[in-house]
């Protein structure tokens, strides 16, 4: 009895200690693995997040790369909360579990590189970045070096229900090359004639404000990173326009992302103004086939701006902890930065429109799209992408987005624009101060 008891107590105490040392040992041993020789089997791990979109695209890229380098296996993982996971790993200094390649939202590439300068590898000289649309490359530049290989295009467009606007007595072309004022006028008629809201968005999101700003080539920060909210005519105009959209009843505010997608699929809205990746969420509503059309984005009437902008989009980055950084970069160079075939494969099946310019010459891009009534939408979208003004999102993009979102909410509740933006400017300055 005694013996048994003492053994149990000891085992418990030892067990606890063992479990902990075992864990830490494993992690310590991992980075010691040898660097691969050219023909030895190599496995690259890639993190991204959408099985029908970027996971699919990376798997197709892997297939193409494997024809040349059969020894390379690419393990593409569908990861949720990707930014949180990376932040945790990098902050803990525990890079062993990170992948070789990660897909990063355009608007946070600079934040990650600035915060963790040694965690990512510059791609200059290893990946040919000369043939991408410039505005997409810019978002991945930090201190003159490129850290992102542009993937999907975020060029915005107005995706329009042809049948609904025609029912209201308009043509699709009436919505092309217009100002927001005109858009609101048209929207009010559409609402009156058909009972359908002109456009929808997620309540409380700053998406509209941000796409309006980029259409004017302006952002919440100037080139030196100083906050420019208060006296920025583009921000003032964007908030004014946003309020007008809401007050006129033209803009329907959905509770969340899923509700927003539902407004597109169940016909409660006549259009959406969004990055062109939204096509992937529009086309599953097969009962609406042939009823959609694409025109460009509205612009400001009073502030210098164009009918083109960008929203979302992402790029591939390579971690410095990769055991095969050269192979990882070679993979990106030969596929996303060098294979027309890849873009020809992923475009028709997933709607992933790249910003690698040579791909746009492919005949696949000029094929009519039946869902959009035979319009050659990819040709149009690539054309829009080439005209998107360049802006520098900077390191504090999410902070700015939330602060301005709050200012917009206050204005919708009746606060004056000047007061709200004044407060936003002050608070953002406070928040980004060291």
């Amino acid at each position: 009895m005694m013996k048994k008891g003492s053994f149990l107590g000891l085992a418990l105490a030892l067990g606890a200690v063992l479990v902990m040392t075992a864990c830490s040992k494993q992690e310590a041993a991992a980075p010691a693995a040898a660097t691969a020789v050219s023909d030895a089997p190599v496995t690259l791990t890639v993190w991204c997040w959408d099985p029908n979109f970027n996971v699919y695209a990376m798997n197709e890229a892997a297939k193409i790369y494997q024809r040349e380098k059969p020894n390379v296996t690419v393990n593409v993982l569908d990861i949720t909360d990707i930014e949180q996971k990376i932040t945790t790993a990098l902050s803990a200094g525990e890079m062993a579990d990170l992948p070789d390649i990660v897909l990063n939202q355009d608007n946070s590439i600079q934040r990650f590189v600035q915060t963790y300068p040694d965690a990512y590898l510059p791609l200059n000289g290893k990946v040919d970045l000369s043939k991408f649309a410039e505005f997409k490359l810019d978002v991945g530049v930090y201190e003159g070096k490129n850290y992102g290989v542009p993937f999907d295009n975020g060029a915005t467009a107005t995706f329009l229900r042809r049948d609904i606007v025609e029912q209201a007595g308009f043509q699709v072309s009436d919505f092309n090359d217009i100002t927001w004022e005109r858009f609101i006028e048209l929207g009010q008629v559409v609402k009156r004639e058909t009972g359908v809201a002109m456009v929808s968005t997620v309540a409380g999101s700053s998406d509209f404000i941000m796409l309006m700003l980029q259409s004017a080539g302006k952002w919440f920060f100037d080139d030196e990173g100083k906050v420019t909210i208060k006296d920025n005519p583009a921000v003032v105009e964007a908030i004014k326009t946003y309020k007008a959209l809401v007050d006129s009843g033209v803009l329907l505010q959905a509770a969340d992302w899923n509700a927003y997608i539902a407004t597109l699929n169940n016909g409660t809205t006549a259009s959406t103004i969004q990055g062109c990746w939204i096509i992937g969420s529009i086309t599953p509503a097969t009962d609406q086939a042939g009823k959609w059309a694409v025109v460009n984005t509205p612009r400001f009437a009073n502030v210098d701006s164009v009918n083109y902008s960008s929203q979302g989009g992402s790029g591939w980055m390579v971690f410095s902890s990769s055991k095969h950084p050269d192979i990882a970069m070679d993979l990106l160079n030969k596929t996303f930065a060098g294979s027309t075939e890849l873009y020809e494969t992923i475009l028709p099946s997933s709607g992933a429109i790249g910003t690698w310019l040579p791909a746009a010459d492919s005949p696949v891009y000029s094929e009519p799209h039946a869902f959009f009534g035979g319009q050659k939408i990819y040709e149009d979208l690539v054309d829009y992408a080439s005209k998107v003004p360049r802006v520098k999102y900077g390191v504090f993009n999410y902070e700015a987005r939330d602060v301005v979102g709050r200012a917009a909410a206050a204005v919708l509740q009746g606060a004056s624009i000047d007061a709200a933006l004044d407060e936003a400017q002050k608070y953002l300055e406070f928040q980004i101060a060291e």
Binding site: L12, M20, L90, S91, A203, Q253, Y398, E399
Partner: protein
């Protein structure tokens, strides 16, 4: 002599059995707490941290977003905790009634919301209160409103929805504590009271409440603690920004945003976490002073 030896043996064995768990608690809970405190004295972004003394704490006092979060959390606390605990007490009294039929069924029903995941519960309430949700449809059908109300984009209503969710989710949980508390009260006390001519209200306020005091204290401290740390429900219903404006933002949400959404400031976030600890400690102390007369 033999007795002392036996006691000694007991003590040694007792410590040995407690040791593994204590060690784990120390390593997994107390050690990180100490580290977090050290972290809260450092400032900087990402891993570029420098010692900053109390600067983070002073900065929190000036931070509007933090102030808004503290105000919101206290609004939830002051409105929600009393409502929930009174409801729980009423439910427990009804469920404890000797004459009540199907007691098992009702007890299960009252406790059932507690089994629901926080996020699922919040998601369901979000859809109920959405612009085309159940509440709007009902109010429209009853002609109480003429056009749908956007509950979640109104600062007051959004808070109300969150209070409703927490109350729905946690009332049953507290009811069970009170029910358990009732079982410790001797029925003979009530019998004596009845013989002395006390009515139901008198029995409740003069017997039940005082005898239940330790349980009420426990539930109050637990609820206060839980509400100060609330995250899941608000994150689900109004998203990371805690909108509209700052109207529903909580301290935990702000800590999360500082660490994972914004350019990471772990020192500052740790300081914000420590303010929750401080608030919980102070509130619990006050409640214990008021509630526990022994």
């Amino acid at each position: 002599m033999g007795r002392v030896k036996l006691e000694r043996k007991y003590a040694v064995w007792g410590w040995l059995f407690v040791a593994p768990a204590s060690l784990m608690i120390f390593i997994l809970s107390f050690f990180p707490m100490i580290q977090a405190f050290i972290l809260s004295l450092q400032s900087g972004r990402g891993n570029n941290l420098r010692f900053a003394g109390m600067r983070n704490y002073l900065r929190l006092l000036e931070d509007e977003q933090f102030r808004a979060a503290v105000c919101n959390v206290f609004t939830y606390l002051i409105i929600q905790v009393p409502i929930m605990l009174i409801l729980a007490l009423i439910l427990a009294t009804i469920l404890n009634e000797q004459t009540l039929k199907l007691k098992g069924l009702f007890r299960t029903l009252v406790f059932l919301p507690c089994v629901a995941g926080l996020v699922s519960a919040a998601t369901i309430f979000k859809s109920i209160f959405s612009i085309d949700g159940l509440v709007n449809i009902m109010l429209l059908k009853l002609h109480i409103i003429t056009s749908p109300v956007s509950f979640l984009s109104d600062p007051v209503w959004a808070k109300a929805v969150i209070i409703i969710v927490i109350t729905w989710r946690w009332t049953g949980y507290n009811t069970i504590f009170y029910l358990a508390g009732f079982q410790t009260i001797e029925t003979s006390i009530y019998e004596a009271a009845r013989i002395d001519g006390a009515n139901a209200a008198q029995q409740f306020f003069k017997i039940t409440m005082p005898l239940l005091r330790p349980v009420i204290l426990l539930t109050t401290i637990m609820s206060t603690n839980g509400t100060l740390q609330i995250f899941d429900e608000v994150r689900t219903i109004t998203g990371t920004s805690g909108g509209p404006g700052n109207a529903t933002l909580t301290i935990s949400q702000y800590i999360y945003n500082l660490s994972f959404l914004y350019s990471p400031q772990f020192g500052y976030a740790a300081a914000a976490s420590y303010t929750i600890l401080f608030m919980v400690a102070v509130l619990s102390f006050i409640q214990m002073k008021i509630g526990d007369k022994e």
